[in-house]
Symmetry: C2
Subunit: 676 residues, 2 copies
């Protein structure tokens, strides 16, 4: 029961619809108001408007155990409108997550707290995904729901059987990625995905009528969703709607909740003024009075806290029963489930890598690195059953589909290959969701140039520390006739600029295999492979078990004694550098050719290794991409054989010639630099 009757008759009428839920919701409202006021920064409006729904969801539906936040079979909850973070932190504190202390709530948005301005994965338990960049939360939730279904198919629905719930607002529905996620979820019939839409008619710029006038339920129905509408402040109606959403197992569900942003605030409710600014002391007092809330700031009356804490352990019994079921499974099934949950690689993995290496050395292959990637994927996906592939409608170009994953994920049955459609951003965010869910290593393909479309999801992979793997083919002007819209120029630099992402541009079959090996092992670092359309010779011919790509760069060839010049190249240009080095050597110039498949890995090497590899002689970099950033390794961009502008539409050989990325250009520059 509320502490006092709401003073405002409109509020009282809402409270009367489900008084118990209203009281629980007021706890969220009060904490959100207080924390945002204390930080003097933040977004109180959405938590206040969605508090009733949060109380119903956490109180009656969400399967979780606050004392065991990592229980694999918990329901997932994603706050896609991440600016409403205080709603989530409030719920976590109230339900008794141990790390979410009242002090953390009081330190909302402060240095070193786990209560960041937007929910950050890895900070507080119960935060299932980093959200804030709008639209990505629902797309990650789609990934979680995808993962749940496939994992259930593999381990049985007595072990894997949970829902994925999403809260979102107008912003997530306006962002294109939201539609990509909605469309994919509807197509695949992800029946355990339940989305609650905070339909408050307000965005930052004012009423949604400024920019948004869709019939959202009709749009989602057109995309194959089960849709309902209800009063977002009526606990009973919300309970009924969520129950109905769970009953619909063949379609994802949308519940459009009509809400009032800043619910309870006498002067700011229903206005964009309450979206992103604190209520302030006076309005906070008026709001609490209107809500009938008499407790001191940050204080939750004991009876309400007790109710919330009971909610926090509501799932304990279910968790224990689940543990018993898991324990009763055959030992190898149980071990396999735990292995995958712990993100450890299977036993046969090392042997599979070694066999693939040995085969390459036994019979060297000339191949495009996208083809080399496919060759690596064949044995690795067979050895690693948690690898789950896909492409944004470029399967035949990305070469991401191989035998072990050759089971299409459909509405009828899940599988290990996902046709993400022409939805690069949605794919990337969904892969992050699969990574977050656990049990899988997702990889997905598109053209490197379209990394632009997916860029913020790649950033979130890095920010969250997820081992998502991006397969980006057609990685230079080498793709030829499709022309400048399809030829990446600035993309390698712009991806290398993202902190925490490992970018690979392997030179041949061996480096591509090595890159895959590193990417698969890196369960907490995202990897991006830039792979060629065109063939390259195998340059690594000397058998051995050392993964040289793991060093980021290494001396691939040495011609002559000492060095007059060092050629540093990546990917398809390493072969050109080797040809140039041969020509230079014939002319009496001593040359080392350094293959540099990954800047990030090289920069992480000890200084003496880096110095020895780069050498003291003048250096030239060769890469069929923009020169930006190469001055990290060479003296000036004049020493980079690369692109200075956009590409063009023409056959590949003509393009390399016209843009001067040739053996002759390397030789000329090397002679000028070395004075030989």
């Amino acid at each position: 029961m509320p502490l006092d009757s709401p003073k405002d008759p409109t509020i009282a009428a809402k409270a009367a619809l489900d008084p118990e839920n209203f009281a629980l919701a007021n706890c969220i409202r009060a904490l959100s108001i207080d924390a945002v006021n204390a930080a003097n920064s933040g977004h109180p409006g959405a938590p206040m408007g969605m508090a009733d729904a949060a109380a119903v969801l956490f109180g009656k539906h969400l399967k979780f155990d606050a004392k065991h936040p990592d229980w694999p079979n918990r329901d997932r909850f994603v706050l896609s409108n991440g600016h409403a973070s205080m709603m989530l932190y409030s719920a976590l504190y109230l339900t008794g997550y141990e790390d979410m202390t009242l002090d953390q709530v009081k330190n909302f948005r402060q240095w070193g707290s786990i209560t960041a301005g937007h929910p950050e994965y890895g900070h507080a338990k119960g935060v299932e995904a980093t959200t804030g960049p709008l639209g990505q939360g629902i797309a990650m939730a789609v990934g979680m729901a995808l993962a749940e279904r496939q994992l259930a198919a593999e381990f049985g629905d007595d072990i894997v059987d949970h829902h994925t719930y999403v809260f979102l607002g107008d912003g997530c529905l306006q962002e294109g990625i939201g539609q990509e996620a909605i469309s994919l979820a509807g197509h695949l019939g992800l029946g355990k995905l339940v989305v609650l839409y905070d339909d408050n008619s307000i965005t930052i710029d004012g009423p949604t009528s400024v920019s948004f006038s869709e019939d959202v339920p009709a749009r989602l129905a057109a995309c194959g969703w089960h849709v309902q509408s209800c009063d977002g402040h009526d606990g009973k109606a919300l309970d009924k709607a969520i129950t109905a959403a769970k009953a619909e197992t063949g379609k994802p569900s949308l519940i459009a909740m009509k809400t009032v942003i800043g619910f309870g605030s006498p002067n700011k409710a229903g206005s964009y003024a309450v979206h992103g600014s604190p209520l302030g002391k006076d309005e906070a007092a008026l709001t609490k009075e209107a809500l009938g809330w008499t407790a001191a700031p940050f204080d939750i009356p004991q009876n309400l806290l007790d109710q919330w804490r009971a909610i926090g352990v509501r799932g304990a019994k279910e968790r224990e029963e689940w543990e018993a079921r898991l324990a009763a499974k055959p030992a190898e099934v149980k071990a396999e489930f735990i292995r995958r949950d712990e993100r450890k690689l299977p036993e046969g993995y090392d042997a599979a890598v070694k066999a693939a290496r040995d085969a390459l050395f036994a019979e060297p292959k000339k191949a495009a690195t996208r083809k080399a990637s496919q060759m690596a994927l064949e044995p690795l996906t067979a050895a690693v059953p948690e690898m789950i592939g896909g492409s944004a409608d470029l399967t035949g170009s990305n070469l991401t589909r191989v035998k072990a994953v050759d089971s299409q994920y459909t509405r009828e049955a899940p599988g290990r290959y996902i046709g993400y459609g022409v939805r690069e951003f949605g794919m990337s965010a969904a892969m992050n969701g699969i990574s977050l869910h656990g049990g899988f290593i997702p990889y997905g393909g598109t053209f490197l140039v379209f990394s632009d479309y997916a860029r913020n999801a790649i950033r979130l992979s890095a920010l969250m520390g997820l081992g998502t793997i991006y397969v980006m083919t057609h990685d230079s002007i080498g793709l030829g006739e499709d022309g400048p819209t399809h030829q990446p120029i600035e993309h390698l630099a712009s991806l290398r600029a993202i902190p925490g992402l490992t970018v690979f541009r392997p030179a041949d079959t061996v480096e591509t295999l090595e890159a895959w090996d590193i990417a698969i092992r890196n369960r907490h670092v995202p990897s991006l492979m830039a792979l060629s359309r065109q063939d390259v010779p195998q340059l690594r011919l000397e058998a051995g078990d050392e993964n040289l790509t793991a060093k980021g760069a290494y001396v691939l060839r040495q011609f002559g004694e000492g060095r007059d010049v060092t050629l540093i190249a990546t990917g398809t240009e390493v072969a050109i550098a080797v040809e140039a080095a041969e020509a230079l050597h014939a002319d009496g110039v001593s040359v080392a050719v350094v293959s540099m498949p990954s800047w990030e890995l090289f920069d992480a090497q000890p200084e003496d290794y880096r110095k020895a590899t780069l050498g003291d002689a003048p250096r030239i970099a060769i890469e069929a991409a923009g020169k930006f950033g190469w001055t990290r390794y060479v003296a000036s961009e004049d020493d980079v054989i690369g692109m200075t502008g956009f590409g063009a539409s023409a056959p590949i050989d003509r393009l390399y010639q016209e843009f001067g990325i040739t053996k002759e250009a390397i030789v000329a520059r090397a002679k000028a630099l070395s004075g030989k």
Copy 2:
């Protein structure tokens, strides 16, 4: 009439629906087949499937004059599924665009031809936009339709009154940006936008059922569109549908055309095999036989070519009438229309800039650079009536709305301020469309971090050479508590890496005004402003008319004789560099502080100016962003005071302290480097 009756009874039945249109369409099909075969690369399927619709659109509806391709009141046609480029090139050749010779068609996808793999704006007349990156074509078309409506409101619909037509495929509808554009167009009721959807049930990965099962017409109806469906090979039905679409003036129109990809090919029609590969010689022959086409490759029978050429000049009379109407306008109206069409600035512009400069020097202001931007926009938008503003739902944060543009663009009436909604990508592509249309200088705002969402549209601004202006605020960790999802780190570097884009990060009110001045003058180069949330002092105090920002970098302060060290800083860190320089000078170190608001403009300066500005002394760069790329100007990233990873959620001062972007850090590094 066709040359011969189609041999295939299904095809014959389609042909019988509108024999004349079928014959015209076969010209497009034949040329597309031949050009793709000759290039041995390209996409024949879509041109073959959409040829009937193209024949109806060009033949009966599109208002254009092939001899005057730049006529301002022509209808705009955007091929959003740009891979179908041969459909467009065929139509341009057939209708007699002078630059589109048969030789150009024969040189499809070859170096130096205007017939690039995907349509490239500025290569061939009649290509209204560069397309290929899916979804952006329709979004640019939305911008064109937006521009048309506002221009008509300003100059009268006797001078401005045209439609914008779009062809698109499944890919454009799967891409999120497609939905952003659809949603915005529906919201604003852009009744002169007509979209023809090539509903061929095929994407690259196979049938659309792999990844796409929406009810597209229902989705668009939910977004406020007028929707129709028809047989895409029935010329009469298409004509009727386009006529009905034009009659609906309050809503944008979708015509879902059921088509067969690769229509006519006996063995490949209806299959993804015809999407992106040449038919080959044998199948080409079989196809032509099936279509009843007996002419030699690249040959168009004279009677058909005559018909097409007549279509090409169908609009001549209308154009002449339009010219007469324009000539009859009052001289100043006519002159103003021509000025805007020619992208020349108005007469009062220079004076407005000078007055704004003088005011800043007369009364220096401490202000966030986003506020400085607003201060600049006030007089400049008043002086330049073609400036049209907007924001992706962050107006109050971006400060993009000022008095002269304070007329909201709504469904009821256009205006100079567009609420783009939470649609950064859609906004950016729409701004490109506005730029392409002519008559306007579009600018629009979001947070710098969300440049990620819009990135490929920014790239297209640069590739097309458009003067679109991006206002990106909250440009560093300086935004504070919103945390790492909202704090740009790698964005400056990744934007500087885009060829042809000018990135500005101004330090104060004066540099911000100067940046705006450059951006407005640059009608063929896009500009991006990185602007601060936090206040900075005005550092430029010496009155004068020279735009120093135009040099990209310049010595802002000199302390002592000569230089022991040079500090290079941008944006909000210039003030910190000045403080550090003062402290160093007090300790006997001679220092120059170089403010560098734009790398691109600096790199375009003569070598002697660059050398003099950077100096020979050791250099330190200071920027609250990732260090990537700064080795262009400093010896090593150790000499960059910047970020090495992501930011955090905390108040601004704490963040600068914790991340070591401080006066003290600069002083320490300067002393170490200078040995003083």
